[in-house]
């Protein structure tokens, strides 16, 4: 580790976890929060329970969970140990990094015994909007009004479209809209004459 960069302290707890939690906000809070695929954060959690044994056990591990992964795999977990953790620490603190490592996200805490060390926006706040010039809430409504078959082509438009189409939020909104579709029923034709 070089001077000035973030480093794993001597008393580093046994486990560090980089936790990518995608916060699926409820319909009620959706207006005020960014859409789900834009709120992914890399959160570094330290296991406080292990801090007492920090000196005896020098082994570090780091894990990444992601409930929504951009490439479509459902839930993913990766682990690293030792030097890889240190390398990652250096990367996260790199002044060239666009992300703000100390920015706290809205991710929920997975374990009360763990302490949030840092949070890094997964995709960054410079994530391009779905349709330039339109708020993402409206763009999402537009995508929900498309036939599902169109999603295959729409997925290829850009990364943000792909992420939106993979996201479960879209299907939840679709489902809600599904119940509200009104079906027009034409009046039964009247028969003026008796059948012969």
């Amino acid at each position: 580790m070089t001077d000035g960069s973030w480093h794993v302290p001597e008393m580093l707890p046994v486990a560090l976890a980089l936790n990518a939690v995608t916060h699926h906000s409820s319909q009620r809070t959706r207006q005020s929060n960014p859409p789900a695929w834009r709120t992914g954060n890399l959160d570094v959690w330290a296991d406080e329970a292990g801090s007492g044994r920090g000196r005896t056990s020098r082994r570090c591990s780091i894990s990444v969970w992601s409930s929504t992964v951009l490439r479509g795999k459902k839930a993913e977990r990766r682990s690293w140990r030792g030097e890889e953790v240190l390398k990652m620490g250096a990367f996260l603190s790199s002044p060239n990094s666009k992300n703000q490592p100390w920015e706290h996200g809205e991710a929920s805490k997975p374990d009360s015994s763990k302490k949030l060390l840092m949070s890094v926006p997964l995709s960054g706040y410079d994530h391009p909007s779905l349709i330039p010039g339109l708020p993402d809430e409206i763009s999402l409504q537009i995508l929900t009004r498309m036939p599902r078959m169109g999603y295959l082509n729409a997925k290829m438009v850009s990364r943000s479209w792909e992420a939106a189409i993979i996201d479960a939020e879209l299907y939840r909104v679709r489902k809600e809209l599904g119940g509200k579709v009104r079906i027009a029923v034409a009046p039964a034709p009247t028969c003026d004459h008796e059948p012969s």
Partner: protein
């Protein structure tokens, strides 16, 4: 540019609204009631002679929204089949606009809480997207393709199963 009709609802009171660029419009109260924001303002006695200021809606989309609300308020209840058909035709013609106006209408209708117009504009945009190739959609909406060629290829492969049973897309796969 007042859009008033005598047959618009049971109230003849005219509501004045002011666009973000300072243009004044008038519409019957029944038409204004189609907008959630205007309805709440009217209920709270905020509709005075000076007009209700709409800070984020420019004159051009506001003129269209006033037209839409006036037409729909006039035909709000007891529609015959012919009238419903006519309203449908009006909607179809009304929403035949360019992309810029469509964006303005989407944002303005969302801001003003005009549910019918919101749905109409959203559906129109969804119709513009469907049946187009990714490249056509990027052109229509000014979206930058930020995929690497490898990523694009990978998504193509993921989609292959679907295109085996339907017609193949015109590009890439």
């Amino acid at each position: 540019m007042a859009a008033a009709t005598d047959d618009a609802g049971d109230s003849n009171e005219m509501i004045r609204v002011v666009s973000s660029d300072g243009e004044h419009f008038e519409m019957p109260e029944a038409a204004a009631n189609l907008s959630l924001v205007l309805r709440h303002m009217i209920e709270d006695d905020c509709a005075d002679a000076a007009g209700i200021p709409l800070a984020v809606v420019a004159a051009k989309p506001l003129a269209k929204i006033v037209d839409y609300c006036t037409k729909h308020a006039a035909k709000s209840s007891g529609l015959t089949i012919e009238e419903a058909e006519e309203l449908k035709r009006f909607d179809a013609e009304f929403i035949e606009v360019d992309t810029d106006m469509l964006y303005d209408l989407l944002v303005a209708a969302d801001f003003m809480g005009v549910e019918g117009l919101s749905k109409l504009a959203v559906q129109r945009t969804a119709d513009l997207i469907k049946g187009k190739t990714p490249e056509q959609n990027r052109e229509t909406f000014g979206i930058v393709n930020d995929f690497t060629p490898e990523e694009e290829e990978e998504i193509c492969k993921e989609n292959e199963w679907a295109f085996q049973i339907t017609k193949p897309p015109s590009r890439l796969c």
